[in-house]
């Protein structure tokens, strides 16, 4: 953009006053004001996200004693460890299955809530959001009590009905199921609220036209609702994938990675190596392994969103 400077007749160029005037002009620019207003946020992001991110990259390239630069040595070391590959597999199982079920439950529940009469809808919306607003550490602890290895409340109920106790946390496969279940319970309301907002933005006329054409409910869902929601589904899945891959609280509180390391995810394994075993560089390297996986999925998902945005526009 070309800047137009207005000059008045008789105006002289005074060399001494010029910097002050240009400073004043600079300060009056919209972009400058916007930047200044964003500065506190930029500072916080830089201090709490950008700096730690770069520091962890630097840390991941140091030796165990943090005295020697080892380049990608820590990453190469991890690639050769069976336990690490088990953690990669478990993180993928944990994140993908949890996100799938959160999205599915969110979608179904959003439809149910959307079809409720307007009067009672607000109450249902509020109640269904409860899992998402309770601090995760607290709700995980509550779930842990329900799954307690010896005194599980759920098993007490199952026993009451004459069933056999379930080894919720002591059997590795049940333990995987339990941590995924808690993650789904916690995260599904986020999908619900996002999908509900998306559903409300679908023009009613489209459904009316489809109904006139004789489309049934499933056809309306497949040909109207889903295409209209595709972008919001993609973005929520991406966001949830990032958060779920980085999940720490649920696994740490409920199983701490056990039994037999079979519930460890990236974050808990990084904590085990970095903090508990005192190998911060290796812990940082584990946590950074998530980055390329998430970056690649983000690129693909966001490219799809942009493409659909262009097609619709």
């Amino acid at each position: 953009m070309v800047e137009i400077v207005q000059r008045y007749p008789g105006q002289l160029d005074v060399p001494v006053a010029r910097p002050r005037a240009s400073m004043r002009r600079f300060m009056r620019r919209r972009s400058t004001i916007a930047f200044l207003m964003c500065l506190p946020l930029i500072t916080i992001v830089a201090a709490l996200i950008v700096y730690p991110a770069f520091y962890s990259i630097y840390l991941a390239m140091l030796s165990k004693a943090q005295t020697k630069f080892v380049g990608l040595g820590n990453f190469a070391y991890l690639l050769g460890r069976d336990t690490f590959w088990m953690v990669v597999e478990q993180s993928a199982i944990f994140a993908l299955s949890a996100v799938f079920f959160k999205a599915l439950i969110g979608l179904v529940t959003a439809h149910l809530v959307n079809n409720l009469p307007a009067k009672g809808q607000r109450k249902w919306r509020g109640m269904l959001l409860v899992p998402w607003v309770i601090p995760l550490a607290l709700s995980s602890l509550g779930w842990w009590w329900l799954f307690d290895p010896t005194h599980s409340a759920l098993n007490w109920v199952i026993r009451g009905f004459g069933g056999n106790e379930i080894p919720w946390l002591s059997d590795p496969y049940w333990a995987r199921f339990s941590v995924i279940l808690v993650n789904v319970w916690y995260g599904a309301p986020f999908f619900l609220i996002m999908y509900l907002a998306a559903l409300k933005s679908v023009p009613e006329q489209l459904y009316e036209a489809a109904a006139i054409d004789g489309a049934n409910a499933w056809q309306r869902f497949v040909h109207i609702t889903l295409p209209m929601m595709r972008n919001i589904i993609a973005i929520t899945v991406l966001f949830s994938l990032i958060v779920t891959f980085a999940n720490f609280d649920i696994v740490q509180i409920m199983t701490a990675g056990g039994p037999r390391n079979m519930t460890h995810v990236f974050a808990t394994y990084a904590f085990l190596l970095g903090i508990r075993s005192g190998d911060l560089p290796l812990g940082a390297a584990v946590s950074l392994f998530m980055f390329p996986i998430l970056a690649i999925s983000a690129v693909f998902i966001l490219r799809g969103v942009r493409k659909r945005g262009r097609d619709m526009g």
Partner: protein, 449 residues
């Protein structure tokens, strides 16, 4: 004009002597030593135990004109470990931090050597626990001072009534609450007898509960059992020794023993075994007297039947898991001389006696000469229940991971190699050879520098 009363030579001499005496003088308890001292200390689970430590610190502070502030930091969620790691990275924080077991080795590069304090204590109190020395000494220097607060061993804590009723065994006879032990009876308390009684108790519906998860109670007791069979993972020269007949014998034994444990032991955290005993469903665990102390409060009938006693003996000896805690002075601490003086004061016998009493016998100092405190004789019910908590006979304190180099042993311990091996064999039904091979691979990886 009056002449200055000191020659240049004299002035130089005086200043040199003064400077040298300031530099070399030990910390003196005078007003010049006054200042501030900040402690980050493990938050004791025994109600009131923190008050005694605070009282002792204040007493010392008043006497030495030093303002002492204490932050009690919980070990829940490893908050104490996290705080210490953050302070070590930031090179700022408290002057003194308490560290659990391996953390001295983890932070030794940012800890002040404390040889002077430890040597003075040893000169006064006699030999120190070899486990404490192994954990706090690096390259011949001490970097941590073993604390009384929090330090513990994990011997058996058994139900007298259930052992008597189902196994016909009077544990008070084998391990009486005085020095009059019958060596023959003590010798008979071995892992074979333990297995036999475990089976009897299991059949009676009150099994023993050995945690086999990835928490410290599980790691400590399992590591001690491996050592009792003569199995070590790695020696001090980095040779991997897990592939041995001793390891196979230990795993074979575990295979039999774990069949008589409740299946949920693989998911127990450090409180799991305590709850098991307190609920009345179990006949025995391996733990410091915390389970008994909580039972005394919540289920006194159970507490009346609890008896803490030695671990069984194995082919290679009788080992008990020990977990010492330490105080470390950061190299960036502001008031190092005062910190050393306070820690020496807290570690002396009189102060340790008060701290042990405040913890109702849970805290176990690292000096054997301190085992004559009357707290362990007096606490009840039943009278003398924790008399045998300090290792008094042939029980040898041990830490899982020993004798590997401490920085490798830290990983062996924290990555729960022992308990995972047992769980793979006993829960996962994997062949012993395959599990030993897995452990070899893991140990090889731990040698990374």
């Amino acid at each position: 004009m009056p002449r200055f009363g000191m020659s240049r030579r004299n002035l130089l001499k005086t200043t040199t002597v003064a400077a040298a005496s300031i530099v070399s003088a030990p910390y003196l308890r005078h007003s010049y030593a006054a200042g501030k001292l900040a402690l980050g200390v493990w938050d004791h689970w025994v109600p009131g135990a923190n008050n005694t430590l605070t009282k002792l610190c204040n007493e010392w502070g008043e006497k030495n004109k030093v303002e002492v502030t204490i932050d009690y930091i919980t070990a829940q969620g490893d908050k104490d470990v996290l705080t210490a790691s953050a302070e070590a990275q930031a090179r700022a924080g408290h002057d003194i931090m308490s560290h659990r077991a391996w953390q001295i080795q983890v932070h030794r590069n940012v800890l002040e050597p404390v040889d002077d304090v430890v040597k003075a204590l040893i000169a006064k109190a006699g030999p120190i626990s070899p486990v404490a020395e192994y954990l706090a000494k690096s390259d011949g220097k001490w970097f941590g001072i073993p604390t009384t607060v929090g330090s513990q061993v994990k011997p058996c804590c058994s139900r007298l009534d259930l052992y008597q009723q189902h196994c016909g065994l009077d544990l008070t006879k084998i391990f009486p609450n005085d020095a009059a032990r019958d060596p023959k009876l003590v010798d008979g308390w071995n892992w074979d007898l333990y297995l036999k009684t475990a089976e009897q108790l299991f059949k009676a519906g009150v099994p023993v509960g050995l945690p086999m998860g990835q928490s410290s109670d599980a790691i400590d007791s399992t590591g001690a059992m491996f050592r009792a069979f003569g199995s070590v993972m790695m020696d001090e020269k980095d040779s991997i020794r897990v592939n041995s007949n001793e390891t196979r014998a230990a795993l074979e034994y575990f295979k039999k023993l774990m069949a008589f444990n409740p299946p949920e032991v693989y998911a127990w955290d450090d409180a799991g075994n305590n709850r098991w005993l307190i609920s009345g469903r179990g006949a025995g665990i391996m733990n410091p007297p915390s389970a008994w102390a909580v039972a005394k409060r919540d289920n006194p009938k159970i507490a009346q039947q609890c008896w803490t006693h030695d671990m069984p003996r194995g082919p290679a000896g009788r080992f008990v898991g020990q977990l010492p805690f330490f105080y470390g002075i950061w190299s960036f601490a502001q008031n190092k001389p005062a910190a050393k003086d306070l820690l020496q004061f807290l570690s002396e016998k009189d102060q340790s006696r008060q701290l042990v009493a405040a913890s109702i016998g849970y805290d176990l100092p690292s000096f054997k000469s301190y085992y004559d405190f009357d707290t362990w004789e007096k606490v009840e019910p039943p009278l003398g229940t924790v008399y045998n908590y300090p290792p008094r006979g042939d029980e040898q304190p041990s830490i899982t991971g020993y004798p590997a180099r401490p920085d490798v042993a830290t990983q062996i311990y924290n990555q729960s190699i022992h308990t995972i091996m047992v769980a793979k064999v006993c829960q996962g039904n994997e062949p012993i050879d395959k599990v030993v091979k897995w452990a070899e691979g893991e140990l090889e990886g731990l040698l990374r520098t």
